[in-house]
Assembly symmetry: D2
Homo-oligomer: 348 residues x 4
Amino acid sequence: MPELIQPAVVGATGYAGFELTRLLLDHPRVAKPLLLSREGDNSTRLDLGDVYPHISGNGGFPVTPFSWKTLKEKGVQLLFLATPHEISREWMPEAMAQGLRVVDLSGAWRLKNAANRAVYNFDDKDPSAAAQLDSTATYGLPELNRAAIQSAQLVANPGCYATSVILGLAPIVQSGLLDKSAGIICDAKSGVSGAGKAPTSKTHFVEVADNLSAYSVFGHRHTGEILEQLRLEGADLVFTPHLLPIPRGILSTLYVRLTGPATAEQVLKLYRDFYAESPWVRVFPAGKLPQIQYSVRSNYCDIGFTLSPDGKRLVIVSCLDNLIKGAAGQAVQNMNVMFGWNEKEGLN
Amino acid sequence: MPELIQPAVVGATGYAGFELTRLLLDHPRVAKPLLLSREGDNSTRLDLGDVYPHISGNGGFPVTPFSWKTLKEKGVQLLFLATPHEISREWMPEAMAQGLRVVDLSGAWRLKNAANRAVYNFDDKDPSAAAQLDSTATYGLPELNRAAIQSAQLVANPGCYATSVILGLAPIVQSGLLDKSAGIICDAKSGVSGAGKAPTSKTHFVEVADNLSAYSVFGHRHTGEILEQLRLEGADLVFTPHLLPIPRGILSTLYVRLTGPATAEQVLKLYRDFYAESPWVRVFPAGKLPQIQYSVRSNYCDIGFTLSPDGKRLVIVSCLDNLIKGAAGQAVQNMNVMFGWNEKEGLN
Amino acid sequence: MPELIQPAVVGATGYAGFELTRLLLDHPRVAKPLLLSREGDNSTRLDLGDVYPHISGNGGFPVTPFSWKTLKEKGVQLLFLATPHEISREWMPEAMAQGLRVVDLSGAWRLKNAANRAVYNFDDKDPSAAAQLDSTATYGLPELNRAAIQSAQLVANPGCYATSVILGLAPIVQSGLLDKSAGIICDAKSGVSGAGKAPTSKTHFVEVADNLSAYSVFGHRHTGEILEQLRLEGADLVFTPHLLPIPRGILSTLYVRLTGPATAEQVLKLYRDFYAESPWVRVFPAGKLPQIQYSVRSNYCDIGFTLSPDGKRLVIVSCLDNLIKGAAGQAVQNMNVMFGWNEKEGLN
Amino acid sequence: MPELIQPAVVGATGYAGFELTRLLLDHPRVAKPLLLSREGDNSTRLDLGDVYPHISGNGGFPVTPFSWKTLKEKGVQLLFLATPHEISREWMPEAMAQGLRVVDLSGAWRLKNAANRAVYNFDDKDPSAAAQLDSTATYGLPELNRAAIQSAQLVANPGCYATSVILGLAPIVQSGLLDKSAGIICDAKSGVSGAGKAPTSKTHFVEVADNLSAYSVFGHRHTGEILEQLRLEGADLVFTPHLLPIPRGILSTLYVRLTGPATAEQVLKLYRDFYAESPWVRVFPAGKLPQIQYSVRSNYCDIGFTLSPDGKRLVIVSCLDNLIKGAAGQAVQNMNVMFGWNEKEGLN
């Protein structure tokens, strides 16, 4: 039996951090994760089972204050940051210096293009260190970037919306069948857990239930990820997120025009070939569309499509669970790739 | 055409205050309500249509800072307080001194028994003035208390749960058929708007959706109202509230044992007679139970029951909309009674 | 006081028919509506208050079997058909012959273009009579078609999705600012009541809750209405409906490209001017988007938009209640226009 | 490595049958389950992955027509019936004759008392064979009945509500602290999947959403199970189920009076001792109440309580997932007990 890797999670009390912790607890290749909280985040030491009684009954899950010393003492080999992006920006240079491998679930290190990073308004203490990490960080979407992730020290786990849109569009964009002059419309809808655990007027039950709203039109932070990863910078791509009255799950409806008429068989083959080595993408038969329910609580990204009768308009539907394939599951998938394990390990 | 009464509403931006404002805007006997906010509550003057775009398109609804002087200048005759109970305790002596009639939607003045008031932990500046108001305030449940409300200066609008439970139990309690030795169980379930508009972890969509939870067992503030109004102080009555994953509505399931076997016809007649003069209570035929959907967005309290085969156990179901019959609609109904208008006026 | 018009409703037990009945009961210009059911639809006479206890307590609402003789005897002047389109196709020639004015809520008479009608697969007994009615029926969208509705004998009440999309697009389409070569994407989301009252696996709570699904891509029946009313036949317009886990409400996100850069002020003025005489459309300030909650349970269609930074991409959001502005409320609005009353009558 | 047991599931397309299939697919002690459908239930052979795309991507899940011959040929050792109770009554004598061990998820064989069985109105072809099975069938609640289940040939898997109520009450009922003269109130609330997959007006999204309703008061089929298993026949016990607007989960609020004052420590010890050997029951600390969310999608039954200040009234809250601990998970737990495996096997 091979030695277990020791992971640590900072931010386990958030929704994504908790999902991540649950996944790591069941993962056959890793030791029980060390759970850490930022100083000031919790005045007293707490147990994750008190915050989430869902997992009580299986022993204690103490959350202890973060320090670099604790990481070293506990022999942590892989650090998961489920922290606000400000923290990830601040801590990362030291984490790298300590020789840790890191999967960062925030938006801190996803973007290569400084113009795209502007929406985050980062305030780096050491801009040159930050700039170097900006250029060396690896975008952690295994389906597009498997080889680079394997050897990466810093993996920037993709945004939930971005994962859904990029995986839905990548095959057609890379195929050459795409008519870029026509515009690419990405109409995405997400459950509320994507907005995080902090209570705000936007996550109040009465404001969300029986409702639907669009937000951040032409200004959502995930737009840059989509453009960069699909190499569509400058294209007429519109990304519009909506807030669904459900706890979790994303459905993205993606509209593209083709350069000429295609057949459903062609498109299906294109997608199936593209994801032939990707166990966490399921491509549905032509005309059969995924629904949020099918992939929720799994690490799958489900993709289906319908072709217009004239073969020139393609509508793609991409679904995933924002907390799993859109966050914690993808982080574990990245870990699997980083350590050379089977990509499905611990995710079934 | 008779002169219109001038009402004012403090706290129109909360859920109950907004419902009240909507009802007053449509009421044929009152002028457009003056909307007021407490000092410090809003740094700038705002328009209610900005907070609730639902009502935009019908002209402006400016909210102005509260002052006694403004009330006088605008000729306000009836003051509705949809404010926290602390404010109502603080302001009421002055309101009385100004000669205003007041309908207070908070829990400040509902309880006669000092022991029951203890759960509120009131911190009165002028205890003797408060004590006098405690004794003179009128509990605003028209179905039980119509005559007193008509001449009252200060009407304490009942709690939403309390309204549901009291109306469901009053006929059987007053009938003498009740076996008080057996215990009275009040299992109540409410939508989330009852918890108010402030975002907290308890009103976060992800915590409420797909969930149900009991809370404040043996400790809910409405218990005192129920005991006092039904004259059941000291009885073995249990009241348990639950938080439902719906925006609005209350269903209370009430369990009593009878002193001897009764027939469904007897019970039905008892309830129908009791509410014969009460247009806002609908008594359902025996065995046909109300559901939350039937009364939501109306001022009705719907009551139904099922009798056990042996005629000795009675299960009563009582439904209402916590924001209407449980708050704003009842406040308007109280106003109708106070001014001698038809009790249904402005509530259809 | 003017004489009241006598309306009749066939199909009052369905969701739209029930909403229509409620609206007519409160309408100051019409008598209590005659409620009729198709032969075979109900074995016994029933009361609408038994199906919808929501309205019980206000007297009886008997539903009687339909016959032309009954209509005549009761002096019916306006017939509302909330029936399946097959019934509306079958009955309409006789209704016209009887000299009745009709508002038909089904899809039977909305489409002028025979190719668009093909999706309904009508099986007319008298094809020539049907063809004549196809050409003379008036599409009942008052905002676009007020004058024709006023004198129409047969008004085809628009589809719910179609209303939302057409009202959202009409100003920009008619303005000449639209770049038709770029494609027009209509991504629409509807609550479940739009699927009707019949229980199916698609309306089962467990299949809908916590879910979102796209359906009828490139094949929805409302697409023809949209193309015809906007005079966009042959354009690259895609309409994709989705099923939301909410009871009612539609939000359509509409994507268009402009022929050149525009300013938000220009677009706002365009929309405000277009709907200046239309009291049931609310145009929101630039960048402020409507949500389903704002218009639900009202007859409003709410429209907002965001313009891309370069001024060339316009995203329009259009919201309405599928049972009110998308069905029953619009039917009443059409009645108001047909009889020369204020368009807001009975709809506040 | 020990030989795997071969299970078969009849009724895998229903909600409970599907959950059961998922659990068996992951269970380390059993072979891939044979999925069977009743004759006439499916005109063609189907794949479970077509009905539930959730599980697609992991190979085929063919559902084949049921026959005793197929069971024999495939070497089935354990038969799970997730069928209507009529089928279970009809098939069971033959299953017993074939020497099969059976876990029946329906209500067919749960009740010992003929009077309690009357609510099912069984129409047995061979009444004497049925009577014998009625007396020999084992009620499959491991926490109360572990030893008998181990050697049983026919295990009657308990009802979902019954499991929740029995586990919540058993410790206090068996303790002797219960004042039976006071009445026992069981107010239970369940998600919609408990009503099954067949679409009816009661499971229509629009009828359930934003609603709550009580049903089958004094007449629910699970009442007999509760009375029999707790040996409370003849007691004044009331069981009232309610339909919650959520897909899954049950919360039962249970009200009992004690013979004398107790302390929270006493009650906690009583419950903890009672379930000391039961890994699937979690007893919460005094005053900390379980919520549906904590146990949903797990096999846990969570139990918490609050004691009145005078120590004489006990309110117990019991939560579980109606499809797991209330059906499929409990069936697997029973299998574990029947074959002498660890009770947690395959259920984590």
